[in-house]
Symmetry: C3
Subunit: 269 residues, 3 copies
């Protein structure tokens, strides 16, 4: 399989038409920007984290995005309850293991959550994906300090162990399924200077997975859409803040022509 502009565009049109409800249990830093990204692409975000209501909220959603960026125990319990509800309804779960490896608490939490149900998609940077496989690798906070390509082997092992599609974000994104590795080379060097664009990628994976039954395809299409919107935004940005603004507008304005013109997709042999 390879990623085509036609297939990316078809998913974007599906999201815009169906406006799938994406339930996010995510970190405080990015709640506003990820909600806006979901609205801009055409999805319908909801944020709810109380253990009293997460299962019911997941019960009306089309996908669940769990992001461990700003953890505490009540949130971990709610994440687990929501993932259980998602598994029962067989809707896709996207796990973003922010900062895993930086502290034992994050590593334990990721393990706890992955034991509830296999996420359809695990999306992180190279450090995080390596940390999920190699427990003694301490990452430098939430930074992407390792190059994405260096984590592909770890990502393949993680994909096999967890039964999940694994996405490693970086200058090139690697989307690792059971028997294939897709690559997306879109994006712009200014994007890592904006907080939460990794988390936004995970949120978009939630939107795409809600309307495309293949987690590998949904993730590749989401990452392509991210990168293309970033490239569109960089045309007019003066710095990270105008990039963020133009990025969201580009998600909203993206047309088929943009995808055809800008998509840079491939596969690892």
């Amino acid at each position: 399989m390879t990623v085509t502009a036609e297939a990316v565009w078809q998913d974007i049109e599906r999201i815009r038409k169906q406006a799938p409800l994406v339930h996010n249990i995510t970190n405080y830093v990015v709640m506003n920007t990820t909600a806006n990204a979901l609205l801009s692409i055409g999805a319908s975000p909801v944020m709810a984290h109380a253990v009293e209501e997460v299962a019911q909220m997941t019960g009306i959603a089309s996908s669940l995005v769990v992001n461990i960026g700003t953890l505490s125990n009540p949130w971990v319990q709610a994440m687990a309850a929501a993932m259980k509800a998602a598994a029962e309804r067989q809707i896709p779960v996207i796990l973003d293991p922010v900062g895993v490896g930086a502290t034992a608490y994050r590593t334990q939490t990721a393990d706890t959550l992955m034991a509830v149900t296999a996420p359809a998609v695990i999306r992180g940077n190279a450090s995080e994906i390596i940390a999920l496989m190699v427990s003694d690798a301490q990452t430098k906070g939430v930074d992407a300090t390792a190059a994405a390509e260096s984590a592909v082997t770890a990502g393949q092992a993680l994909s096999a162990r967890a039964g999940s599609t694994v996405c490693i974000s970086g200058e090139t994104d690697y989307i690792i399924g059971a028997d294939e590795v897709l690559t997306i080379a879109n994006g712009h060097p200014l994007m890592p200077r904006v907080t939460g664009l990794g988390c936004t990628a995970s949120a978009l994976c939630g939107a795409f997975a809600a309307i495309n039954p293949s987690p590998v395809q949904a993730t590749a299409h989401a990452m392509a859409t991210m990168g293309i919107a970033g490239e569109m935004a960089a045309q007019t940005a003066d710095g990270p803040a105008t990039l963020q603004t133009a990025f969201l507008d580009s998600l909203y304005r993206m047309q088929k022509d943009d995808v055809v013109r800008l998509l840079r997709a491939g596969t690892l042999p």
Copy 2:
């Protein structure tokens, strides 16, 4: 009564002159943007949610805005304590029942809070207002899936039962008092693509209610100001993110001419 540009402008000038302190207990998604909206219109926002301090913080505020968008039990307790303090001081409470009807927990919470004291204003979209009256209506998350006009009857019943001004946001906003229904037809179709503009409307209701003793008038003036700022912003916006930015700037820059030129207000017969 009808809404006049003169009266809207008079309230805006009062806010800019008095800079009323508005105490917000609101959801994580919108804290930044609602604080900025209050600052842009000329009010002074404060956010505090610890049960240890909410009563004292409400004690120095001119109004209280309670928004249940991202609930948990400690927050519900703090909301109730703050509403009690507001009732004792007779300052207006604005209740935004975000997502009520989507989960039993939200519906119960709204009931609990409305039992503490009658809000001066309840502001929600049509689904939420209907859900407050019809307990078996499950909303689709926080979306405005029902047209505002379809909720007017429910809004009138809610207003009578709760003793509150009820505001139903939509393409046309309906502001329902004891014996009148005002309408504001300002706004722009891009506004629902920005997260938290409904919550921002509630925050602005807090600013206007702080300086205008009539909840119906304050709410109508707040909704007019929202919609006019949205229309001003849409003149230059390229998408939802630039709309948000231009919206906040428009709150800050709005002049009497803008209100006179753009206000579209009416009443239901």
Copy 3:
């Protein structure tokens, strides 16, 4: 000592080169914008607040920023634990006592935290700095209702008592060390209309203190950088929201020429 453009620029270059990890335990309102400010200047932000992990996260950071803007007891415990870890590692702690004096809970919390270890830097507005010294001064929420210069005497007493550099933000910023008071007169009148720029100043103090061993110099350089970026932003801003965006871009784009051209620094006799 006086503040020179050369020294400010040297610190900016150090931050951009070293990308120090700044651990923030801050309020919900500003998490996104302060993370973006740290990324824009070239630092690496991390946000973590669970008592289970804060000590370990502080253990890999180069500085710790504690901001009490939206308190609750679990956060206070985490702040204290993180400050203890910072003291053990001898990395600088920046304390932003948001709204201290507005409620007894905030005043008690500030006292509790200052008893854990002496912050390298305490940064607040005049009302907050006075409230830290004069326990019966109730501030109007988080507003800077007192002029900065009126708080210099209180700031000097606080600096002597706490053993901290004290920074009073305002139209002129006062940076108070053991035997000197530096002044920075940069900034723009529109800046107080943006929520969280005070908190952003504290976050930047964390970045500068991470790479400059003198808390007085680090704070003065951070405040100069804030004010200069604000002046650069005001050149193109149409209101508070475009000011915020241009401010972040200016942190990213700032060159030595900008600092040389715009710096307005002095000392109190």
